[in-house]
């Protein structure tokens, strides 16, 4: 029996070491390989996985990511004037097609990384993180897990404060300006809460003897053969992608002229392997869900 039996998604039931390897590889490759095909694959993979994890809730959140995408894409051509194809001139400076393409590329990259970070926070819960690193570096791993958990916990608490204030009957104004004022008031309360909370967490962990010898973990994870297969798959796919990077994929340039997407066997294999790696969580998740539906139908 796995530690987190209550979680509904299949991918997060894999061993923490496998999950950590996957997220590290995915995020590092996305950040450090500036190739449009790889970035697009990371974006699509992250989008699909997030959709499977959150469903309709995530669709509503796209209302934030879509404007962000457009904003990032349009900001770059305003500040970067390199490129061989001017579209028009703004205050005597060219706004070029290449700068626009680079802006879109940046937007794809940024939103892709954001999606994967979002999925990470859902899948790699703090008990898994502490299971992996609690023994090796107790202090660092506690600080990291508190820091990574900070934003979601902060949002949840601020919603709670807001609801409480509304329940009391305060700050129920309908106008936009009033809503901003209310948010600010909640924010002030949240600042004191977050500092206090961080102190409380560390005191409580100390009280439980965290970092002492002979202390066991809250959740126990067993490394199964399925985990082994996954780990081998992830590592070999990453190696293939890195081969493509070494063969010159990392030299893709947007300025002054957009490079051509190479169609050599090595880069083709790299694109294929990174695409498979990015789709892996969504595929696994989808497969398990279909199986579950199938079993339920047989009952």
């Amino acid at each position: 029996m796995r530690g987190n039996a209550g979680r509904e998604n299949a991918f997060s039931r894999l061993h923490p070491a496998v999950l950590m390897t996957f997220f590290l590889s995915e995020l590092l490759l996305t950040v450090f390989l500036p190739h449009p095909v790889l970035q697009a694959e990371a974006l699509v993979g992250g989008l699909l996985f997030c959709l499977l994890l959150w469903g309709g809730e995530f669709l509503r959140e796209l209302g934030f990511y879509l404007p962000l995408f457009v904003l990032v894409a349009l900001t770059n051509p305003l500040f970067s004037h390199n490129g061989v194809t001017p579209l028009f001139f703004l205050n005597g400076n060219p706004v070029t097609w290449e700068a626009l393409l680079y802006g879109i590329f940046l937007a794809v990259s940024v939103t892709g990384v954001l999606f994967w970070c979002k999925a990470y926070s859902r899948v790699m819960t703090s008990d898994k993180f502490l299971y992996l690193f609690g023994k090796v570096a107790p202090r660092l791993s506690l600080v990291l897990s508190v820091a990574l958990r900070f934003l979601p916990a902060y949002l949840a608490q601020s919603k709670r404060v807001e609801r409480a204030q509304k329940g009391v009957g305060l700050y129920a104004g309908e106008s936009f300006t009033d809503r901003i004022k209310n948010r600010l008031r909640v924010f002030v309360a949240m600042v004191s809460w977050s500092t206090e909370n961080a102190m409380e967490v560390s005191a409580s962990m100390k009280g439980r003897g965290y970092g002492k010898k002979g202390r066991t973990n809250f959740s126990l994870f067993k490394f199964t053969s399925a985990d082994g297969v996954f780990l081998a798959l992830i590592l070999s796919l990453t190696a293939l992608t890195l081969c493509g990077a070494a063969a010159g994929m990392k030299n893709f340039a947007f300025y002054p002229r957009v490079s051509r997407v190479e169609l050599s066997p090595v880069s083709f294999a790299a694109c294929l392997s990174f695409g498979l790696q990015s789709l892996l969580p969504a595929l696994w998740e989808g497969k398990e869900r279909i199986l579950w539906k199938y079993y339920v139908s047989k009952i």
């Binding site: 001017p86 001139f89 703004l90 005597g92």
Partner: protein, 202 residues
């Protein structure tokens, strides 16, 4: 109880009205900011930007000669940005603009002549405005897609007037009749093109 309820309803209506006013104020402020932004922005099409016709050189007009070269790049090809190496982006002889005569207008600086010339010859150029530079002068970041740092960490554009490298920015140097302006690309902070004062020997 009845009285209280009535009063509350009236208060609500009053509040609603008042808040709408506040929202309108906010909207008005936003529109004002946008208007200022749009007013301060000049949008030109490609045809409008490139000058098709310059002042004609007549016997009585004052002129200066301008040239733009980047021969040093070919001595440092190893550190040149790979994106610039391929194809025919840079001229093989390093001459982006051969020495050409341009009419000097009253009070023209080196920057005025350069910007007029690149608009006429359709050469790409990017600069940092005088307001953004600590030296109070325009700084030329790149010409013909060749930017500062495109060819090693010590590379960038410098200008020479009648064989001397002036010690001020290009929008602060006023020109006279018959002067010769050269824009030269350096890969060694001026050392490779003869600007000793910046090369670090003194």
């Amino acid at each position: 109880m009845k009285f209280k309820g009535k009063r509350g309803a009236e208060g609500g209506a009053f509040r609603k009205k008042f808040f709408w006013k506040k929202d309108f104020l906010l909207l008005f402020g936003l529109i004002l900011v946008l208007a200022v932004l749009i007013h301060g922005t000049e949008i030109q099409s490609v045809e409008e930007y490139y000058l098709l016709h310059l002042d004609d050189v007549t016997p009585e007009s004052e002129t200066v000669t301008l040239s733009i070269t980047c021969q040093t790049v070919f001595e440092h090809e190893k550190v040149l940005d790979p994106a610039l190496r391929e194809g025919d982006l840079l001229p093989s002889d390093g001459v982006i603009l051969p020495p050409t005569e341009y009419v000097l207008r009253e009070g023209d600086t080196v920057f005025d002549i350069l910007s007029r010339a690149v608009r006429h010859e359709k050469i790409q150029m990017e600069f940092q405005g005088a307001d953004k530079s600590p030296f109070g002068s325009v700084y030329i970041q790149g010409i013909h897609w060749l930017y500062e740092f495109s060819c090693g960490p010590l590379s960038g554009w410098m200008y020479r007037v009648d064989g001397e490298f002036p010690q001020c920015g290009c929008s602060r140097y006023s020109l006279h009749d018959g002067q010769c302006v050269e824009w030269i690309y350096t890969c060694e902070l001026g050392k490779d093109i003869g600007a000793e004062w910046m090369g670090g020997q003194r």
